[in-house]
């Protein structure tokens, strides 16, 4: 990906995050209004969160300026380099795929832990994270996972008395 195109997509993502925060602030303000704002002499339960939501909305709006300026600046350059989009995108895409894979592993780990208990979930989860983080030998991943799970079980369940 060319530099201008890269900064264009970065600015677009930055703007999306700022807009997301503004959206979250609007939802919080709406809910806070519902809790009751009260007045200065008797602040309601929604008064303080309402003021904070307005603050978040304004600061996220200010944070939106920089990516919008970048977007305007990068627009012309992106149009000129529109043909060279595919080059070099693999690094960012790989990171996103790995991050998505890690989140999936963590969610499945939590679900399995809920249904089948800690030991089964931890052995599977640690093996998967080990392999995802660069471990090449499955055997080593299994051995490490079993030892770590046993160690944690001993520490949390036997010594600290946590029901697992």
């Amino acid at each position: 990906m060319s530099n201008s195109s890269q900064s264009h997509s970065q600015a677009l993502l930055d703007a999306t995050v700022a807009l997301g925060l503004m959206g979250a602030a609007a939802v919080c303000a709406y809910l806070a209004w519902g809790y009751g704002i009260g007045d200065l002499s008797a602040p309601g339960p929604g008064g303080f969160p309402f003021v904070l939501s307005v603050g978040l909305f304004i600061s996220a709006f200010v944070a939106l300026f920089a990516p919008i300026r970048q977007l305007i600046a990068a627009r012309g350059a992106t149009a000129r380099n529109a043909g060279s989009e595919t080059e070099g995108t693999s690094g960012g895409a790989e990171l996103m795929i790995r991050a998505a894979a890690l989140v999936t592993i963590l969610v499945i780990w939590a679900l399995v832990m809920k249904w089948l208990g800690f030991a089964v979930a931890a052995v599977g989860g640690i093996i998967a994270i080990n392999l995802l983080s660069g471990q090449k030998s499955l055997r080593r991943a299994i051995v490490f996972s079993v030892i770590l799970t046993a160690g944690c079980y001993l520490l949390f369940s036997t010594i600290l008395g946590l029901p697992l």
Binding site: A66, K114, L132, S133, L162
Partner: protein, 498 residues
Amino acid sequence: METILHGFLIASGPSQLLFCFFGVLLGTLVGTLPGIGAAATISIILPLTFGLDGLTAIIMLSGIFYGAQYGSSTAAILLNIPGTSTAAVTCLDGYPMAKKGLAGQALLITTMASFFGGSIAIILLMGVSPMLAKLALQFGSSEYFAVMLLGLVAAFTLNADNVSRAVAMTFFGLILGTFGMELTTGVRRYTFGFPEMTEGISILVLTMGLFGISELLQNVSRRDTPAPLIPSYRLRDMLPDRAERRRIYGPCLRGTAIGSLIGALPGAGPTIAAFLSYSVEQKISRTPARFGKGAVEGVAAPEAANNAAVQAAFIPTLSLGIPGDSVMAILLAAMTLHGIIPGSNFIATQPDFFWGLIASFWIGNLMLLVLNVPFIGMWVQVTRIPYHYLAGIVAVLIFLGVYSVRSSFFDVFLVILIGVVGWGLARHRYPSAPLILGFVLGPLIEEHYRRVMLISRGDLSALWESSISLSFFVASLLLSTLTIWRLIGAIKRDRVRR
């Protein structure tokens, strides 16, 4: 004097010594390893301390905090890998010194400077905290509101590059702090229909998500290249010569002064102290061109500064109950979880805890001196541990740590969600520290604000009526004005450059 001696007696108990050693050992370990910070480690280890008494737990957790500062310099000097953000400054001159064959001297200088900076700041902590606590006895709700506001303003104004983002994160943290049941009216705020949210978000879930899961996601694509083998060093080879010794006295003193001042300010932290002291040394040097090429001053000053800042950060936390940075916010939460409430009455009502903790800092710093100088070779070997093993350990400890707090699977899913959101925000340069500070201070600020408004019957000027609160408001206003001025200047310079 009697009180500190009594503190030493308390801190010299077998379990206190043992857990102090564990803390500084673990701190040095995570400081040496890049990718796992002190904040994440303290959050992950915190549930394991529930079986300990409060003082022993905090001695251990504090040991992790200041131990990480010592450990981070080893990998920074020998491998040019900063284990913590503060060590990035040490890399600038430490690694060039190592390349010149002066690694031994650089390591000894950093250890000595760290010990010096830490020790002076502990003396300051011993002197200033009781005075500040005495002053804080005059504080009412308006004064607490004003000083907490100053802490939040300082937190985002010191993030000079991303002020609007830091402000947004502060507000975000403050809003997250309001989640759960409002104690005065019993109204459930932002629970989204989940009964588990009635108690709000646990600080542990928030910090483990923001620092633990977020760091796992950040490092998921990391591929380690094996660290080079480092020769072992004898103490005799590490001693700096007379000329070098003469050159480090001044930087150590100045670094300690800057670190102590910055550390004691709410909102500032050791990273700012390290960068500031480095730039001061460079500015006052007669030969600034040597900096970045292996100047001993460039190693000694930031190391003294960051260790002084770490110890001085305990001043506002212990005497006012107001954390200086995100790690202190986690430590404050840890104290609360152990039933210890720092504040103006803390030193008077719990002198054993206060002086025992201070004495443990001395003991911990001495342990670090012993751990760091003769075992440098061992710490270097630690950097060779492949990341895929660490990722598994971090993940399982986060899950178990979060689950252990309330035996709740809801918290396990929540920590994943917070981690993903935190990682997304960090990727777009939204800092986590103001969020944590906002989260911790939010409920307190609301409580004090509500109290002032109820007593004054809605008169806003009651917030700045007293001279103490007025001075805090003026300081907040000055800081904000200064930041806006700097921002306008930066925008103008940017336009001229274009």
